[in-house]
Symmetry: C2
Subunit: 284 residues, 2 copies
């Protein structure tokens, strides 16, 4: 996994425009927002899905970069003052703190365009399928739509189904795209695509359930803190809607669904299995 993270970082460094070319400030903001930190989880899903179908080749790098560029752009825009208003991320000042709000908006916009551009370069097999997958995952029925649902959900009470739909859009759609893009580089048949999509939908949601559980468990170890950050912000969470025990049960169920979906891939699915375990058991 560490080798694949390094591979993704290297590929990202190559596709991002250089800091010594005009427009310098924009290029600097794009590189700042993308490089130097991050789990690179989405590229890992892409590489792992390609691997599950027998492809570890260089044609995985463009889709791996594309999903990470989209993720990076979404963080830049989410951190803006009118959105989550976050001044720090990964131990560094956020993009708009360093480059100003206008340049941060443009850097996000340009990162999104770059993701599509690098995926469209060359004459990639099944390229149109890849591009429509990415477009759908980013748009009003995907990531941007989930973010909009999240905005309108603050302070309201959601049902479990509404909460799961919001997460399926906000973070799930891009994780599913990351897996599907990796599978498409290996010219996956419809059965494999369907199985991997079941896996990705379950893992994407599991990742979010674990996030909400950590928000509660994390705070319980810190004396004097009475509620997690999300709960305090009035954000609906799995524990706040169905309780902590039911959240743990849902996490186990999602992980089981994900692992079952990987059965056809036998030993080649090992990396995807590791990612599912990571989603369910991570400590931060």
């Amino acid at each position: 996994m560490r080798a694949l993270i390094a591979r993704a970082e290297h590929a990202l460094g190559d596709v991002l425009p250089p800091e010594d070319q005009l427009p310098v400030e924009l290029h600097r903001a794009m590189r700042y927002a993308t490089l130097g930190g991050g789990k690179r989880l989405r590229p890992l899903f892409t590489y792992a899905a390609g691997h599950a179908l027998g492809n570890d080749g260089p044609e995985l790098d463009a889709p791996a970069c594309a999903v990470e560029l989209i993720h990076a752009y979404s963080l830049v825009h989410d951190d803006l003052p009118s959105m989550d208003d976050d001044a720090m991320r990964r131990g560094r000042p956020t993009c708009h703190i360093v480059f100003g709000e206008a340049m941060a908006i443009l850097a996000g916009d340009a990162l999104q365009a770059l993701a599509f551009e690098i995926l469209a370069r060359g004459n990639r097999a099944r390229g149109m399928d890849m591009l429509s997958t990415l477009g759908h995952a980013c748009g009003a029925e995907g990531m941007a739509g989930g973010q909009a649902l999240d905005l309108t959900a603050i302070g309201r009470s959601l049902t479990l189904a509404e909460l799961e739909h919001m997460h399926a859009c906000k973070t799930g759609a891009l994780i599913r795209a990351a897996v599907r893009l990796g599978a498409l580089t290996a010219n996956a048949d419809p059965h494999a695509l369907e199985a991997l999509d079941r896996y990705a939908a379950a893992v994407g949601l599991a990742f979010q359930v674990r996030d909400d559980i950590l928000d509660v468990e994390g705070e319980s170890t810190v004396i004097g803190k009475t509620a997690g950050k999300d709960a305090a912000a009035g954000k609906p969470t799995f524990p706040s809607i169905i309780g902590l025990d039911a959240s743990r049960a849902r996490l186990a169920e999602l992980t089981e669904t994900a692992l079952q979906a990987l059965a056809p891939f036998a030993a080649r699915g090992e990396m995807l299995r590791e990612l599912a375990h990571y989603a369910a058991h991570r400590q931060h």
Copy 2:
């Protein structure tokens, strides 16, 4: 032309997500930002370029919509408080005034994604070329890059070459993409693509020179106003750098370049010629 504007409006209404589906607010903001006004100049370039090569078919609608969705998203983001801070556009309150800043940012983001998604749908001939054309036109070397150059240019003195480069990115790149996408639907050969690109680059710049001239001429007819809006905002303009007479000469030169590039298309280039005349002679 009027029929083609109606055709573009109709196609846009169809590709934008409906207001009665979740996320309702986001869909409303996207439709508000795109429908109800606008010259639809970029779709006209796409239709006119297809026509010049003998294609008026329905496969022009997706690229015509894609370039207009990109244009609409760029206006939403440009109008934001941290950018140009405009409260009115086309006689209506701007998107962030109606829907709030966060939703306006998301609507712009989702419009950009939608542009790529609709262009990637189906198995369009030369689709990858279209998508990389659009990606490049929107990104750091295109529209977003031009906007970044514009941000850093305010109050500074630019050379004529720097000003032209800024406009070539900021507005020129998308107009060139609009023309190229139309030509690609007609499976244009490299010679036709090259001629049309010369046309589009010249017209795109002519459009901007005319804008700057109008900013000066407009004010001279209004007694008591001593400077145009752009000049007052400290934005570099063609008249401020080379004077009004040289700006008029540059406009004539660019129009001549554009018209010469259309020679090979004979009568079929008439719509593109009309657009060049419009760019040079428009009164608003």
